[in-house]
Symmetry: C2
Subunit: 328 residues, 2 copies
């Protein structure tokens, strides 16, 4: 019998596939199954030989899964799945609707306590690693300001918003942080930056036959919340070029804390990510936190957790003495 | 009676003064005293009205100090003070002799357990925040390489080494990371870099009257361990210019993890610091970890800890729900 941490995946989209890949690089863990709401017989896994089950059967696997990684979306899937599955499994998820975090945490926490499980919510890079860096920045440099920049990266939400405009056959949207704004922040000058000064938005749009480009452009750049407050560039391209040049999902960004110590010493802390694949990176973070969830449960802990509650050492397969010797 | 965390400082050099400043920005903590091996009557504090005591008297203060921040050096002070004071106080220190961390941890741990105390060792930025970022990088991107660059910054150890050369009246040494090496790493190419390719060393030296500049230069650039493996520039300047231009203690650097996910996606994580005052920043980190030490002790924990054992949330004065709402 293996001593590996037994991981299952709930939901096999981009994130689920990323978790499958990340597990293949984690010798202390093994994928034991995938759960889907689709027809399990028709789901083809990338490179694993594990069984695929219907989500309806998941309660039969309570004793054969150490941690269930929830790979569904924050809008439709997690608000229901998270609290439901927290009764049965230790879980990790990437819930990312910032405004709803308190309610979601409370719901998952109640279930996790009832089921004596450890459930880590809102794991990934933002929320996730960026959140941790915002916290470190503020705790270490209490006098200062924190700046978060996103991009250059593909925003799924903004791309979807464009696709819903009549006349649009396809679209992607890139969020681009302003290099000037970043340089100002890095200089320690602690500028007040408007939304427009921090990020630009660049759109690549495929029109339906006969659609009016000017109307579509106008609908995009004036869209409240999504585009109206930004400088937005709209490029019309062919379906062929969209498929050829914009199929990848890069992303990234920066969290910068600019603070003062002593009488007037400027101190800058910066954390940045440059991601070739946003979902694969998020999945890699999920897998590391699955290890932590397992260990916390082994230690007798229960309840919902955020990344703020997880000591760094719990993420590594190495033991504490090894970590101190090699990485401290 | 105040509910603030009562902090005392052991050792009043650059770090001790930095802790004093950082505490003034931490409304949940208060400085209650400074301990010194010098004559307490002659020690003038920067801006605090707290009593100064002799280190010999420190055992009388066991019940009036929640956390003692050890501000001595890693060579002469901490190896003895750390284990000794861990019997009496919750402590935080900036022990930074990498090779001796396992022994030091073991000695402090034994004392802390005997005295039922929480003692956090090796806190600061390297070891410290850089260590945490090395760990996050390796745990999240197991296939990859980690690069640590230091500088541009003043290295106290290298400056001291130059000052010991006959004919040298004064000196500072700056460690400068190679911009080309950093760019290669950021590109995701994962280069193998020699010591010489990663950092350069720049020295500003004041000669004693009659000293031979060429002999001094030769003694510096050929010095084993310190300079022989690097491209080293030696500039001779006047005592006046040394005092005017090189009195500050800037430092910083980068930890970069370059990894692969999926089949071939390059992912780059980078943490960087640009510090106007190295000791003031280290002190600020010490103060945040003093808060964590206090909380761990309140929770019933005991023993030596490293930064790897401390959940991020413990560093912040804010509560868990507030952190999730504001920073997650």
């Amino acid at each position: 019998m293996s001593n590996k941490i037994r991981i299952a995946i709930a939901g096999y989209g981009n994130l689920g596939r990323g978790v499958e890949s990340a597990l293949a690089r984690s010798p202390d863990m093994e994928l034991v199954g995938v759960f889907t709401r689709r027809d399990p017989g028709k789901l083809v896994l990338q490179n694993s030989q594990v069984p695929v089950h219907s989500m309806d059967q998941i309660s039969n696997f309570v004793n054969s899964v150490d941690v269930l990684i929830l790979c569904g979306g924050s809008k439709a899937d997690l608000p229901e799945q998270g609290p439901e599955l927290a009764k049965l499994f230790n879980t990790v998820d990437s819930f990312d609707t910032h405004a709803k975090v308190p309610d979601y945490f409370a719901a998952v926490d109640a279930s996790a306590r009832a089921g004596q499980r450890v459930c880590v919510i809102a794991v990934g890079w933002d929320p996730g690693l960026f959140s941790i860096n915002r916290l470190y920045g503020e705790a270490i440099l209490p006098e200062g300001a924190t700046y978060t920049f996103w991009g250059k990266g593909l925003s799924q939400g903004h791309s979807d918003a464009i696709r819903r405009i009549p006349g649009v056959a396809g679209a992607v949207q890139y969020t681009i942080p302003s290099p000037e704004a970043i340089e100002k922040v890095r200089s320690g000058s602690r500028p007040a930056l408007s939304t427009r000064e921090k990020h630009m938005r660049e759109c690549f749009v495929v029109l339906e036959a006969g659609a009016d480009a000017n109307l579509v452009r106008e609908a995009i750049v004036t869209m409240p919340d999504y585009f109206a407050d930004y400088d937005t560039t709209v490029n019309f391209i062919s379906a062929h070029d969209l498929a050829r040049d914009h199929a990848e999902m890069p992303h990234g960004g920066f969290v910068i804390r600019s603070g003062t110590t002593g009488t007037s010493s400027t101190q800058i802390m910066e954390f940045g990510l440059k991601l070739h694949s946003n979902p694969e990176f998020t999945s890699s973070v999920l897998v590391a936190y699955a290890r932590a969830a397992y260990r916390l449960k082994q230690q007798g802990d229960v309840g919902a957790k955020s990344v703020f509650d997880i000591a760094p050492g719990l993420l590594s397969p190495k033991g504490a003495a090894e970590l101190r010797k090699e990485l401290l």
